[in-house]
């Protein structure tokens, strides 16, 4: 049995290109004691993994070449040497960009048969949980408040905005494309969506937030974070989730003006978080999110690509803002 893999061939200098990756074939090994062999159904491409290719070590570890590209995937158990999994189970875990992977049982989570496996890459997976905990626990929005979210049409952002609507907030999304902006307001219930690439972005944001911003969910850092700081209300909260504006480069910009001056003047709390810190509460969160999906209050946008060979290009395109919702690479046909 042969495994197809996408290998990190070289670390990007400047912007990432598809040439930083190569396709490879390898034998599929036998799972050892307590291990599980998984055949990938699909994996998600997320901007945050770009940080793992940057010069300095991030929470994802120091960058490395010659290894399979990392990523969260869903798959089917082929063979299990652990009592908690059996052949045919659907699972989610750190499959990476490859057709088969072997895991310690504790690295995998079983997906209940009631759910579609790919939902565990979107609203019921890391992206949905990040939106849920980042907005509700870090942002602490109250009904009637204004919530602003950047990369609003992205895998996390489009869920953040919808949860904020469920909680009774006014929701302003920032994205880089008018077509995306239209989806956010027409299909997902955002009150306003503004395009940060417009020349009059700052004025549009001001018009979109007549009562200021109480909670800003930051997926981008950079200029959009800077614009949010000027719109924040006294006592506002900024949930720092990601820094996509600074990933695809080897010379990240300095922080925005107004840090820390505006934090002081407006008594703003800026708090970084990682979803893994909330692992003890995933089950309740998934239950609530699944309920919203079922009732139609929450819609998951998925942006599908087919086949391993398409993954590097799809990642490059995602970093340029090409995705609408969660970008998933399907290997199941």
């Amino acid at each position: 049995m042969k495994n197809q893999q996408v290998i990190i061939d070289s670390l990007p200098k400047g912007k990432l290109t598809a040439a930083n990756y190569r396709l490879a074939e390898a034998d599929v090994a036998e799972p050892g004691a307590g291990e599980v062999l998984v055949k990938t159904i699909a994996f998600a491409i997320t901007a945050g993994t770009r940080a793992g290719l940057q010069g300095s070590a991030s929470y994802a570890g120091a960058p490395q070449t010659g290894i399979v590209m990392n990523g969260t995937g869903v798959g089917t158990v082929i063979k299990s040497n652990d009592g908690s999994f059996g052949a045919g189970d659907s699972v989610v875990g750190p499959t990476g960009w490859q057709a088969y992977s072997i895991h310690k049982a504790k690295a995998l989570t079983k997906i209940p048969t009631a759910h579609q496996p790919v939902d565990y890459l979107g609203p019921l997976g890391v992206n949905g949980l990040t939106a849920y905990f980042g907005l509700l626990e870090v942002g602490q929005p109250k009904a009637g408040e204004t919530v602003m979210v950047s990369a609003a049409a992205g895998s996390v952002g489009h869920i953040v905005g919808q949860i904020a609507k469920i909680k009774g907030c006014r929701v302003v999304g920032v994205c880089g494309d008018d077509a995306k902006a239209n989806v956010l307001t027409s299909d997902l219930g955002f009150d306003v969506a503004v395009n940060y690439k417009d020349a009059n972005y700052r004025q549009s944001l001001k018009d979109a937030t007549p009562n200021g911003v109480d909670v800003y969910f930051d997926n981008t850092g950079g200029m959009i974070l800077g614009s949010a700081l000027f719109r924040m209300n006294v006592g506002g909260r900024i949930a720092c989730c990601g820094v996509v504006s600074q990933y695809d480069t080897d010379s990240p910009e300095p922080g925005p003006k107004g840090v820390p001056g505006l934090l002081v003047n407006k008594r703003i709390t800026m708090r970084g978080f990682l979803v893994f810190d909330y692992a003890a509460h995933y089950a309740e969160a998934r239950e609530e999110i699944a309920g919203w999906l079922k009732s139609g209050q929450l819609k998951a946008l998925t942006d599908e690509v087919k086949g391993l060979a398409a993954a590097p290009g799809a990642f490059v395109d995602l970093l340029a803002g090409g995705n609408l919702g969660t970008r998933i690479v399907r290997l199941d046909g």
Copy 2:
């Protein structure tokens, strides 16, 4: 009866100079109904008031010329048209840089006869309360943790470090002068003090914080904030109190690198605060601080200057780091 005043004659372009001020003489008016006439004993010069002279409006309001320079002072009531004050009472309030001032009664706080009035410009005044609430409420230090404070020999910083020691923390002060550093460690009990002007500052800070930094009390912003971000531990707290590195200029720098990337990776909370938000708890805080002063656990450093004419130069010098502790201008001889 004549009043001597320091007037803001022009707004600074670039760095503040004494020529931005002029001395003036005016008649002392009669206090109206509910008003109190106060003769200034002394006032404090604090870096934060420099922000009020910058181009954009801060919490201190938009900059303005032709008015008396603002500042907190202590004084003696000369005449009172309000039942809560009587001639001879010592009070603290927004006297500004002048010999006499008239206030609505509610703008003044009576100083108990048990205390020295000038202590209400230092440890029992806004500076001490800022240190107290910023460290304890925003920073939330626990015994055994490492607390770092910038402008550590300043009016707020030298109190922050001592309160952190009282709470059982390891305390690292950052200042810009070896003589100040020596006072912090020899006289005030700081564990280490490092000089940010040294060429090897970053390495010295690293050596001074072998277990990282759990709480950083930021009085400066800029490069020192940037250096702190790299030393913060997971779950660290940054209390944003002031931005003295960016006040004395009309072209403030961008924020430090690592905002928001390091906040995410290390789940850091950065929170701006103003002491006025804690006004409901001033009384308890003053009681606790007074206890520490009495027991000798807390020493207040005061840096005195005599006479109104010296105030502008003393402010310019303070912005260049010339003060050790709270800089006070005495008008009482």
